[in-house]
């Protein structure tokens, strides 16, 4: 299991154990954590699962694919450490990961 901390825009923290193999998005949605909408269910088609990855962890989450890059380009408030959370696969390596959600996904 990987312990992931999801931080809402207002600072509220949720610490969840997420099964490796799920995406960071699925960890949030399955546990009803507000702040990640994931309208397309993880198909990289909607950009409503946008998160900011804690800079210490960014490299461990891997790199953005061309599709993710294009989709992110049109999301709001995108930064260097922005990722679409449906594209980050959870592994044991990500135990301790911290991500923050934007104010709104729409």
């Amino acid at each position: 299991m990987a312990k992931i901390t999801y931080v809402e825009h207002n600072g509220t923290e949720h610490v969840i154990d997420v099964k490796p193999g799920l995406s960071v998005m699925e960890g949030a949605v399955k546990n009803n954590i507000p702040g990640i909408d994931a309208d397309c269910g993880g198909a990289c088609a909607c950009a409503t699962c946008h998160v900011y990855v804690d800079p210490e962890w960014l490299a461990k989450t891997g790199t953005r694919s061309a599709m993710e890059e294009s989709m992110l380009d049109f999301a709001d408030g995108v930064e260097e450490n922005s990722r679409l959370s449906c594209q980050i696969k959870v592994t044991d390596e990500l135990d301790g990961l911290v991500v923050t959600m934007p104010e709104s996904q729409h």
Binding site: N32, C40, M71, D73, H106
Partner: protein
């Protein structure tokens, strides 16, 4: 005026119903919520059924919108395997198929749509299936594999996604389509041609403009599809994807206004102030296009669930969204924004030969819809242009060297 203690009954535990239940709790509704579904499993995503699920890349857990425990943990009484038999608006009750009667303060109709069955001989043979539910998908998955012959009746999204997944699994696939082109109801000719070529390159056989007259079988199992021209297409299994009909009968019988779907406003409210209708069953206003329409898409189910949950909990109506949908076939990502109503011109941007392009549908200088293949910027910017009605310079739009951000500036 919202009543936080109201008992909300949701008929239908699909994407819209499941989302509405979760949103009601998220928005702070405290009263009881009962979620009634005819399938034996909790709400789940249907899109992967023709894609990742078929290819063995997803399982029941990954499809579920929320884990089963979520419902009990959040005071949502989830009743699987039960249908609504009758709606009695007079005393605000619903009679269920198991004989029980539920009282409601507020009712949400989320009964969805059912796959249309072809009224032809042999349609009930084993191996002839629709693709709507997880149970259908299980059956289909078992029937598809290397060397198996799959007949797909219907060249719409379902048919083409099944064809793509079937090919990925090594099956031989023939798609039988009534119209002279694929995706006839939902996409333009350029796109139909593009998809046909792409599928053919991947080994799919097409019979366009053909009429299916029946299914042949042996020992109760399908062996072929018969056509009006006398030929029989041999197959080991057949998927029928020829459209869906709204399950609005219960609403019609109860005297709610229906028009091939339950008529609602932008709060997803029906002609009865205590009843809402959301998702595939609803016939709703589309302010962008100044008309009423019934949309069959996940984004619509989500938007209407938000509308109903907001209205019920006294939140402001959510801002209008641009309708959209997507389809994944092979390595193609098709993203469609809007509907091509009232259009008078088409602008193609990018290179179809490189499988990276977008078709914009314009009414004068306004983008009404865009169909994007592996072209997220065109899709994302297209959604904004459709929603904010900003006129575009068609020359810039057609020129891929001008970025979409510049086009929309």
């Amino acid at each position: 005026m919202s009543n936080p203690a109201a008992h909300v009954v949701i008929l239908g535990a699909g994407h819209a119903g499941g989302t509405a239940a979760a949103l009601l709790r998220q928005y702070g509704h405290e009263g009881p919520i009962t979620l009634v579904g005819e399938e034996p499993i909790p709400p789940y995503q249907r899109p992967p059924l023709s894609k990742a699920w078929l290819k063995g890349e997803a399982d029941a857990d990954s499809l579920a919108l929320k884990p089963l425990e979520f419902y009990a943990e959040n005071g949502i009484d989830f009743r699987p395997g039960v249908k609504a038999a009758q709606l009695r608006r007079g005393d605000k009750t619903v009679v269920l198929s198991d004989g029980q009667t539920l009282s409601y303060d507020i009712l949400i109709l989320a009964t969805g749509a059912r796959a249309i069955a072809l009224p032809i001989p042999g349609a009930d043979l084993a191996g002839v299936m629709a693709l709507r539910t997880a149970a259908d998908a299980e059956q289909l998955k078992a029937a598809v594999g290397p060397g198996k012959r799959l007949a797909v009746v219907g060249g719409g999204y379902i048919g083409l996604e099944v064809a793509a997944s079937g090919r990925a699994l090594g099956a031989e696939v023939t798609v039988l389509e009534r119209e002279t082109r694929l995706l006839a109801r939902v996409a333009c000719e350029q796109l139909s041609t593009f998809f046909r070529d792409y599928h053919e390159k991947h080994g799919v056989t097409f019979e366009l403009g053909c009429s299916v007259t029946g299914f042949e079988g042996k020992d109760g199992r399908v062996t072929g599809v018969t056509l009006a021209d006398g030929r029989t297409i041999a197959c080991d299994a057949a998927v029928v994807g020829v459209g869906a009909a709204p399950n609005d009968e219960i609403a019609k019988d109860a005297g709610l206004e229906c028009a091939r779907g339950v008529v609602v406003d932008l709060d997803a409210r029906t002609s009865d102030p205590d009843i809402f209708a959301i998702g595939d069953v609803a016939h709703r206003p589309m302010p962008i296009y100044d008309r009423m329409f019934r949309m069959e898409s996940v984004p619509n189910a989500l938007e209407q669930a938000k509308q109903a949950a907001s209205a019920i909990t006294g939140r402001p109506r959510p801002p209008g969204e641009c309708p959209w949908q997507w389809s994944d076939q092979y390595d193609l990502k098709l993203q469609i924004a809007g509907y091509a109503f009232d259009v008078d011109e088409i602008v193609v941007r990018g290179d179809p030969a490189a499988a990276k392009f977008a078709v914009f549908h314009l009414k004068g200088n306004q983008v009404q819809a865009v169909e994007a293949i592996n072209a997220p910027p065109e899709f994302m910017m297209g959604k904004q242009l459709i929603l904010n009605r900003k006129p575009v310079d068609k020359t810039k739009l057609a020129d891929p060297t001008v970025s979409m951000k510049e086009v929309a500036a």
